[in-house]
């Protein structure tokens, strides 16, 4: 047994670190121990949680896809151009990350609700209302989750080395080719981490979705909404639903850990 590796942190640091671990682990342990496992069978056969789960998973994936489609170009513009107003846009992005979800829901209603600034026009001219549709769920998730992708990616793009891009250009690569073969691969760690964070935030979103999109089983009732309502009548059921969400999230995060952990911990992707 070699003694050459001394601990790299002072021993005392382990104490608050252990408390931090407890803060995260104890609630999950509490869930597991309080779960009425005998009710699991009835929960599985109940169509309501299943439709909520499907809705949550589908909307969060759609949100992530749209976030990538819109967020990557946005991050590129913010990081690589000198267009005026960049600072403001970035500030607004960061703001919506820290906004309480219900506030986000109210904001979305005032813009896209039936009497909202844009929503009113959609209703009058196209007969289109957004609230109470799965699209509204996606929009609510996008509003709160997309900034994670934009902010992560923008920071990586800004600090990325430009030399490879310049060399690629001298070799004859046009801007699209440079983007696809040099720029984006060079930030793939941040891209992966941003996408995973976005998905995780989207699937966990509750305040904005229930305020803006409403809550109808099969249409707009996501798993978090289902859990909140279960708490009113059957706390045991709420515990089981919570564990379901913890399980789904944990499974995805573990499966993708090679994508996002290195980027978040600073190691090279």
């Amino acid at each position: 047994m070699s003694d050459t590796r001394r601990p790299s942190v002072p021993r005392l640091v382990l104490v608050p670190a252990a408390l931090g671990v407890a803060l995260f682990a104890l609630p999950v342990i509490g869930l597991v121990s309080r779960a009425p496992w005998s009710d699991l069978a009835s929960l599985i056969t109940d169509p309501a949680p299943r439709s909520a789960l499907v809705l949550s998973v589908v909307t969060s994936l759609v949100t992530t896809a749209i976030a990538l489609a819109l967020g990557v170009p946005l991050a590129l513009v913010l990081a690589r151009t000198r267009l005026p107003g960049r600072g403001v846009v970035l500030a607004v992005c960061t703001l919506s990350m820290v906004l309480p979800p219900v506030v986000a829901g109210v904001a979305l209603l005032s813009a896209l609700g039936r009497r909202g600034v844009i929503g009113r026009l959609l209703d009058e001219h196209l007969g289109l209302t957004i609230p109470f549709t799965p699209a509204a769920v996606v929009i609510a998730q996008l509003f709160v989750a997309m900034p994670f992708l934009v902010v992560t990616l923008e920071s990586a793009l800004r600090s990325a080395d430009r030399a490879p891009e310049e060399v690629a250009r001298t070799l004859g690569a046009r801007p699209w080719r440079v983007l696809a073969t040099v720029t984006l691969p060079s930030v793939r760690g941040a891209l992966g981490a941003g996408a995973v964070l976005t998905w995780a935030r989207a699937i966990g979103e509750f305040g904005a979705t229930i305020t803006f999109a409403g809550n109808l089983p099969g249409v707009t009732r996501t798993l978090p909404s289902e859990t909140y309502l279960a708490l009113q009548t059957d706390p045991g059921r709420a515990v089981l639903l919570s564990l379901l969400q913890v399980g789904v999230s944990l499974a995805v995060l573990l499966a993708l850990r090679h994508r996002w952990v290195p980027a978040l911990t600073g190691r090279r992707p």
């Binding site: 209603l109 609700g113 009497r115 609230p131 229930i210 809550n215 009732r221 909404s225 009113q232």
Partner: protein, 244 residues
């Protein structure tokens, strides 16, 4: 002599009043009340405190199921005023207490925009008109159960666009203009200028009964008595509640 005494009397009275108001050194009465009783409790609190100068009334407002869970988990409640008989039964069974008394009733009402611009006249409109966006409370909460019961009684099925986690949410949806109509309690609509109420016909009326219980406390029992007194009943009526 009088000249000297009067300031000191005033001083004593002020400090007594302060002491009563701060509850310092006095008793504390925790009242757990359903959220729809907010205005009622707000009116009753000073009345009770005036009659019991050294008591500080603290009102805890929440959904009936949340309050029940808190009480069973050990919260120190002297009074439990519920909007849901089911939750009251849960608490009574859990604590082994005698039956509760009904102190108020509430009714459902159709919530519409001010002036009822869409001309809604009854449950039939909510169930059958395709152009209406309807909001109801979720069946998991009492108001939602009562709403479904009302439609059942009328022999109608309704397809709401959204189910709210609490009945106040229904009123908010209609007030914001996101929903055209909804079912909520009369007491939620009363006094609001941003919504109007369309009463339900007597045949499909669902009456909600509000039970109250004093949980192992002499003071609590006195509060329950106040609820049932002339004074209490007039406060309930002023806030839109029905009287048993």
């Amino acid at each position: 002599m009088l000249g000297l005494q009067r300031p000191s009397v005033a001083l004593l009275a002020t400090s007594a009043a302060l002491a009563a108001g701060c509850g310092s050194g006095g008793d504390r009465l925790d009242v757990f009340a359903a959220a729809s009783l907010a205005a009622v409790m707000g009116d009753l609190e000073p009345v009770f405190e005036a009659e019991h100068p050294d008591v500080d009334v603290v009102v805890n407002l929440a959904g009936s199921s949340t309050l029940a869970a808190q009480i069973l988990a050990g919260a120190e409640a002297a009074v439990f005023a519920s909007a849901d008989e089911v939750q009251m039964d849960i608490v009574r069974e859990g604590l082994g207490l005698p039956s509760a008394t009904t102190f108020a009733t509430n009714r459902l009402v159709i919530v519409v925009a001010p002036g009822n611009p869409l001309g809604i006249s009854g449950l039939g409109d909510l169930a059958q008109r395709d152009d209406l966006v309807v909001s109801l409370a979720a069946p998991e909460v009492p108001a939602g159960r009562y709403a479904l019961a009302a439609f059942d009684q009328a022999g109608l099925t309704v397809g709401p666009a959204t189910l709210e986690a609490d009945v106040r949410g229904v009123v908010t949806r209609v007030a914001l203009g996101e929903a055209d109509a909804g079912l909520a309690y009369v007491t939620d609509v009363l006094g609001r200028s941003d919504v109007d109420g369309v009463p339900l016909p007597a045949e499909v009326d669902v009456v909600v009964e509000y039970p109250v219980l004093a949980v192992d406390s002499r003071l609590g029992a006195e509060f329950v008595d106040l609820l049932g007194s002339e004074r209490g009943r007039s406060i309930l009526a002023a806030n839109g509640f029905g009287l048993p």
